[in-house]
C-alpha cells in the first residue's frame, strides 16, 4: 500500500515536471521567429532548405577496405529579416550536437529555443541585452556560457515574455504551446525529419553555420555597423584619427606528423601509413575608434566686483575605444596530394622497371568542423611513393567590420619506396 502511494507520488512528480517550458530570452531576436501565440513565422523568414554537413562530432562507422563513413549533420535553415540564422537540427543531429556542445557550435549559438520531449527550453547568452545594437550584440558573443537548463523563474505567459526579452524563464504548458508544436511539425512533415529545437546565430556567425551566408547576410557583415550617421552639415575637422580595423591573424597548418620516414603501404607489412593534422583558427578582429573628449578649464570673470567662475572648453583630446570581434573558420578542408613530378615519375620512369606501376591513390581529402577548425587522421594509407603536399584551405566567417577572408597553407613530406637493385 505504502509502496503504491510512493509510486503514484513519483509518477505525479514526473508528469508535473516533464512539460517544463524554459526560457533565457532575448528581446527582439525571437520576435522575428515566433509570435506571441507560439506560431513560427515561416513566411517572414527566408527558407534556406535542408542542409547537410560532414561533421567530426557526428558518429562514424569504419567499413573494412572502404574507409570511415560519417553520418552527416542535418538541419533546416532559415534566415530572419535582420540576418540572424535559425537552425533546426534533426533530432539525431541535436542529440550529437548537445553531446559535443563546443565542437558542434551548439554552445556558440546566441540563443536557443525548443522542446525537449514535452518540455520547452529557451536559453541565450546571458550577456546579450538586445539585438537593437549590433555592435553590442556581437561584442557580447564571447561564447555562450548559459546553455542548459537555466536557474529559471516561472513564466506566466511564455511567448510574450520571450518576445519581451525576459531571460531564464520557463513555463508549464504555456498558452500557444500547441501552435508552436504544430509549427514545428510543418517542416518535420515536409522533410521527413523530426525538429524540436531552434538555434539562433547572429549574422556574423553565418559563415560558421552549415547553410553559409546569404547575400543579405554578407551585405550586413561587410557593412561596418559602427559608421556614424551621415550628416548634411559639413562637420568641423576632427582632431581625432579615423577608426581602424586590425584584422585577426589567421593561423593555419597542414602537416604530416608521423612517422619520420613513411614507407608506401604496399611494401610495409604493418601498413603504418602516415598521420596528418590540419588546423585553422582566427584571432579576433580589433576595431578601434576615437571619441573626441573636450578639455575644460576654469575661467573667472569679474563684473563690478562680482566674480563668476565657469568651465570653458580649451581644447580636445582623443579617447581610444576598442571592440573585439570574434571570428570563426566558416569552411575549411584538408587534403594530401602527390606532386605532379612524382606522378610523372611513377607513370613514366618507375613503370619502365615495374611495368604494372600505376597511381593507386594520389589524393586524399579530410573534413573537419568547428569555429577553430581541426582535423586529423592517423594511418592514412599512402600507396604511392614520392613527394606529397599536405594542404589546408578555406575561408573565415567575417565580422561586422570585416569581410570573409580566404586562406591556404601547405607543407611537404616524402613517402619512400624500397628498391632492390641486383648488380651482376
Amino acid at each position: 500500500m505504502k509502496r503504491n502511494a510512493i509510486l503514484i507520488a513519483l509518477m505525479f512528480l514526473i508528469l508535473t515536471l516533464l512539460p517544463a517550458h524554459q526560457a533565457l530570452a532575448q528581446a527582439s531576436a525571437w520576435s522575428e521567429v515566433v509570435d506571441s501565440n507560439g506560431n513560427i513565422l515561416y513566411s517572414q523568414m527566408t527558407d534556406q532548405g535542408v542542409v547537410t554537413q560532414a561533421a567530426a562530432w557526428m558518429p562514424n562507422i569504419t567499413l573494412p577496405g572502404v574507409g570511415t563513413v560519417s553520418v552527416p549533420a542535418e538541419y533546416h535553415s532559415y534566415v530572419t529579416q535582420s540576418g540572424n540564422t535559425v537552425l533546426m537540427p534533426t533530432a539525431t543531429t541535436l542529440f550529437f550536437m548537445a553531446a559535443n556542445a563546443n565542437q558542434s557550435g551548439f554552445s556558440a549559438a546566441a540563443s536557443t529555443m525548443g522542446t525537449s520531449g514535452l518540455s520547452m527550453v529557451n536559453s541565450n547568452n546571458g550577456n546579450v541585452v538586445g539585438i537593437a545594437s549590433l555592435g553590442a550584440f556581437f561584442g557580447a558573443l564571447v561564447g555562450n556560457q548559459n546553455i542548459g537548463l537555466p536557474s529559471a523563474t516561472t513564466a506566466t505567459n511564455f511567448f510574450n515574455q520571450v518576445l519581451a526579452g525576459q531571460s531564464n524563464i520557463w513555463s508549464l504548458a504555456p498558452g500557444g504551446l500547441m501552435n508552436f508544436l504544430s509549427s514545428l511539425a510543418t517542416p518535420s512533415l515536409q522533410d521527413g525529419n523530426l525538429y524540436t529545437y531552434m538555434l539562433l546565430y547572429a549574422p556574423g556567425q553565418c559563415g560558421s553555420t552549415p547553410a553559409g551566408c546569404s547575400a543579405e547576410q554578407l551585405a550586413l557583415i561587410v557593412t561596418p555597423t559602427l559608421t556614424p550617421p551621415v550628416s548634411t552639415e559639413t562637420p568641423p575637422p576632427s582632431p581625432c584619427p579615423g577608426a581602424s580595423v586590425q584584422l585577426g591573424a589567421i593561423s593555419a597548418s597542414a602537416q604530416q606528423t608521423a612517422p619520420a620516414y613513411p614507407l608506401v603501404v604496399g611494401q610495409d607489412p604493418d601498413k603504418r601509413g602516415v598521420d596528418v593534422e590540419f588546423s585553422a583558427s582566427v584571432a579576433p578582429t580589433i576595431y578601434t575608434y576615437y571619441v573626441e573628449v573636450p578639455l575644460y578649464d576654469q575661467e573667472t570673470k569679474c563684473v563690478n566686483g562680482v566674480c563668476k567662475s565657469q568651465q570653458v572648453v580649451v581644447g580636445h583630446t582623443c579617447e581610444a575605444h576598442t571592440i573585439s570581434y570574434p571570428e570563426c573558420i566558416a569552411s575549411a578542408s584538408g587534403s594530401l596530394a602527390l606532386s605532379k613530378a612524382s606522378r610523372d615519375w611513377i607513370l613514366n620512369e618507375l613503370s619502365i622497371r615495374y611495368p604494372e606501376a600505376y597511381l593507386h591513390h594520389p589524393n586524399f581529402s579530410f573534413g573537419g568542423s568547428g569555429c577553430a577548425f581541426s582535423a586529423s587522421e592517423d594511418h592514412v594509407q599512402v600507396a604511392d611513393p614520392g613527394n606529397w603536399s599536405a594542404h589546408i584551405g578555406g575561408s573565415t566567417s567575417g565580422t561586422p567590420v570585416s569581410g570573409p577572408r580566404s586562406f591556404s597553407r601547405a607543407s611537404a613530406f616524402s613517402v619512400w619506396l624500397k628498391e632492390i637493385v641486383i648488380v651482376k
Partner: protein
C-alpha cells in the same frame, strides 16, 4: 554472573570479528562491481546466427541489388528498433559510401570473439571479427579484416540473437579504448 575471558581468548575474538568484517567488505565490493561474474562459467550463446549474418550482410552489400534489397537483407537479422535506426539514421550514407568505393563485395563473414558485457536493458555487446572479400576497380581481389563491436538483443520468441546496431567508432574508442581508424 561473571564471565571470565583470558587475554588470549579476547585477542582471538577480536581477530575473528576483524576477519569476518574484512571478508564481508570484500564480498560486498566484489558483488557491487560484478567481480563474481568472471569466476562463473561463461554460458555458451546459441542462436547467434541471425545477428552475425546481419553484420556480415551489412559490411558486404550486393550493390547490383539496390539499397532497399540490402536494407531488407540486413534487417532480416535485426530487431525492429535496430532496423528503424539503420533506415532513419545511417543506412543511406553507408550505402552511398559503398557505391562510391567502386568495389564489388563477394564474400563476408562475422565471428563473435567475445561476449563483452551485458547492458542494463539486457542487451549484450559482442566483440566481432569481420572479414570482407572484395574486388576493387582494378579487378584485384582483396581480403579486409576488422574487429568491431555490436549491440545485440535476445529475441525470446525465436530464441535467437538479433543485431541492434554496430557501435559507432567514437563509442568504441570511448568505451573500449580501441581506435577503429587504426585498423584501416
Amino acid at each position: 554472573m561473571n564471565i571470565t575471558l583470558s587475554q588470549k581468548k579476547i585477542t582471538k575474538i577480536i581477530l575473528a570479528v576483524a576477519l569476518i568484517l574484512a571478508l564481508g567488505a570484500g564480498a560486498y565490493n566484489a558483488w557491487t562491481n560484478n567481480l563474481f561474474e568472471r569466476f562463473l562459467p561463461k554460458q555458451e550463446l546459441s542462436g547467434t546466427e541471425p545477428a552475425l549474418k546481419a553484420v556480415a550482410d551489412f559490411y558486404a552489400p550486393n550493390l547490383d541489388g539496390g539499397y532497399e534489397a540490402w536494407l531488407t537483407q540486413v534487417c532480416g537479422g535485426m530487431s525492429a528498433d535496430g532496423c528503424g535506426l539503420l533506415r532513419a539514421m545511417y543506412g543511406d550514407v553507408v550505402w552511398k559510401t559503398f557505391e562510391a568505393s567502386g568495389a564489388k563485395f563477394v564474400q563476408s563473414q562475422a565471428l563473435m570473439i567475445e561476449d563483452v558485457e551485458t547492458l542494463k536493458n539486457d542487451h549484450h555487446i559482442w566483440k566481432l571479427d569481420v572479414t570482407v572479400v572484395s574486388v576493387n576497380p582494378q579487378d584485384e581481389q582483396k581480403t579486409n579484416q576488422l574487429q568491431t563491436y555490436a549491440q545485440v538483443s535476445f529475441d525470446k520468441a525465436s530464441g535467437t540473437w538479433l543485431l541492434e546496431r554496430i557501435l559507432f567508432d567514437q563509442e568504441i574508442k570511448e568505451r573500449y579504448g580501441v581506435d577503429m581508424g587504426a585498423q584501416q
